[in-house]
């Protein structure tokens, strides 16, 4: 009996520890980009626009490092491409049960430089995250994950597109309006 209880407690502690230490890295994905920060962001924006038939549109482009610099501190470049799809947001926003997930809207893709001088793309692991919220959310998030995989395809044979600054709500705005998708 003692062994069973002890084993269960040990299992719970081990699981909690694993969850604590690994949850963060499981929730997010990081990919290296062959391009610089601006070009990576621009290519992601172009990929998003190419999926407009799936409801995707650009919400905004933000540069959080600017505000940090204004405060007197340097951080390596970071750009946040914000995008949303009404196709996926509508069912989530309709339901009281899932409306709180609007805190995840719009989807954000982070493009940043690290100390090795390389550019990286950070995305949410939408597929895994969706599984935490039940079947309905899981199925939607799974579709989002598939689209997200398309966002970050970097095709060097295509010319560099221009970076689309700001958003429908203006530069650095929260987006908004019907054209922003969400």
């Amino acid at each position: 009996m003692f062994k069973i209880i002890g084993g269960t407690i040990a299992g719970v502690i081990l699981t909690a520890a694993l969850t604590f230490f690994m949850a963060g890295s499981l929730m997010f994905n990081e990919h290296e980009s062959p391009f610089g920060v601006e070009e990576t962001a621009a290519r992601i924006q172009a990929n998003i626009q190419a999926l407009s038939d799936r409801g995707w549109s650009l919400s905004a482009l933000r540069d959080p490092s600017k505000a940090v610099a204004e405060d007197g501190t340097n951080v390596l470049p970071v750009l946040l491409v914000e995008t949303c799809s009404t196709k996926y947001s509508a069912p989530l926003l309709k339901d009281d049960e899932t409306r709180i997930l609007s805190i995840l809207m719009p989807c954000t893709i982070a493009i940043y430089k690290k100390d090795d001088g390389k550019t990286y793309i950070g995305t949410m692991n939408s597929g895994l995250m969706g599984k935490l919220f039940g079947a309905k959310v899981a199925s939607i998030m799974e579709e989002i994950a598939k689209d997200q995989a398309q966002f970050i395809v970097m095709d060097p044979t295509k010319p560099a597109p221009p970076l689309i600054k700001g958003g429908p709500g203006g530069s650095g705005s929260s987006g908004g309006g019907s054209t922003s998708g969400c």
């Binding site: 405060d71 390596l76 001088g117 919220f133 039940g134």
Partner: protein, 547 residues
Amino acid sequence: MKTTRFHWGLLLLVGGLCLSTTGYAALQPTDTPATIGKESARKAPSTADHTKFKELQRSFKDGPAVTEACLQCHTEAAKQVHSTKHWTWEYLNPATTQKLGKKNVINNFCTSVSSNQTFCSACHVGYGWSDDSFDFSKESSVDCLVCHDTTGKYKKIPGLSGHPNYDRIELPPLSGKFREATDLQAIARNVGKTSRETCGTCHFYGGGGDAVKHGDLDSSLKTPKRYLDVHMDADGLNFSCGECHLSDAHQVAGSRYAPTASDKDGILMRGKDHGRNPATCQSCHGSTPHPAQHAKLNDHTDKVACQTCHIPEYARGAPSTKMTWDWSTAGRLDENGKRLQIMNSAGMVAYDSKKGDFTYDRYVIPEYVWFNGNIKYTLFGDKVDGSEMVKINEFMGGPDDPDSLIWPVKVFRGKQPYDVEHQTLAVFHTADKGDKDEAAFWSNYDWEKALEAGMATTGVPYSGKHDFVATEMSWPITHMVAPKGDALSCEQCHKENGRLKDVKGIYMPGANNTPLLDTLGFGIALLTLIGVLIHGGIRVYSARKEG
């Protein structure tokens, strides 16, 4: 069940957000803006009001006429300027005996001044240098205004042999934009001390544009914020260039041809300069500047330049700096045979028919090299191997050289022409007299004509056969000093593949693996453990036996 899973999900999400928020909080600034520099930020009062000088109460037909007026009071100024590198564009390096200076070096930007003086002399402190016949002894040819203008309205136009425009001109040509005639009278009456603006007129735009050449010098330093440079911070210490680059009789301290890589003489006291360079960090901060609680940092200063830690990245202002320049692709035109320009994602020119392909970067992680202050250049006529990368300049030094420190550098890479038969770098005539100049590459996109015209002015033979060779050129990084909180942290170097991974001849704890040392360390730890276990075992055994 559904609700339970939902709440578990929310819990994990909130936990993750809390963790990420904690991480973000760690990025928040800890330094407060310096306030002690407010006093020095005020404009220094002058004892002379040039608007009242009768010599300046007239109109001037050109720049030399202004200089003649200046020289009526400042009688020795032109003679002093004549002996500076800013005037001669020449420098004889005593260490290498190489004849350097803009007049003599080749770079991998626009490659050479030779044959291009009309264009390049927009950054010469003189008027009228268009070819080798220029009279370097003429006092009225000195341009006082380019350094002493305080209005910000004085601009020497490339293509006018060092002159500003005296008439209204379309600039750039065919752009539909016009620049009014330079008001020499107003500018001459408002001269003053040099400033970031006047020095930056050339030094921020080296290589043909803003932020192109140096990486640590660009227009963002005109009114920089604290994050960009703690010394030049416009709301703080507000240093002008001359604050560090002290001048004496127009000789400006600090040289990129013979920089002071290592300054071990401590703080420079007044009257005890002994010919020292006052522009080094040590001349103000000394050789062990870190306080007692960070004393370990002072153990680094004999091998690591201040700049290595305190300029963690360069090109931190708004403009990206140019990182590569491939001349071999220049000359490609659009379907109508017109000049082609292709922009990159950030809206900067990535391809130009006149210049080839470029790449840019910002917040660039420097490369690091041993440097003792000596730089060896590849000059006109020096042999190069077209199959290998050619170092346009090479920073000398090494781990066993007591005068060497580890320095951050910008390495600018490119492709440029070389003479296939003579195996020398080949320079070309880029732009001189506009579209009427048939030999200029920017007029006709004809490499052979441009190379023949360019090489003819160097005195080095040209075979008529060219190809392109990969080159690289290094630039010391010494401006854009970040706030102390942004200096490199220990672990940015002391880890595998850290910042200094390519620096030869150093052992850094945490970064390098020395098998003998590792074996010794682990061996001692193992023996200690065994000793403890044996000791503990004996104690347990003894206690049981006695008890």
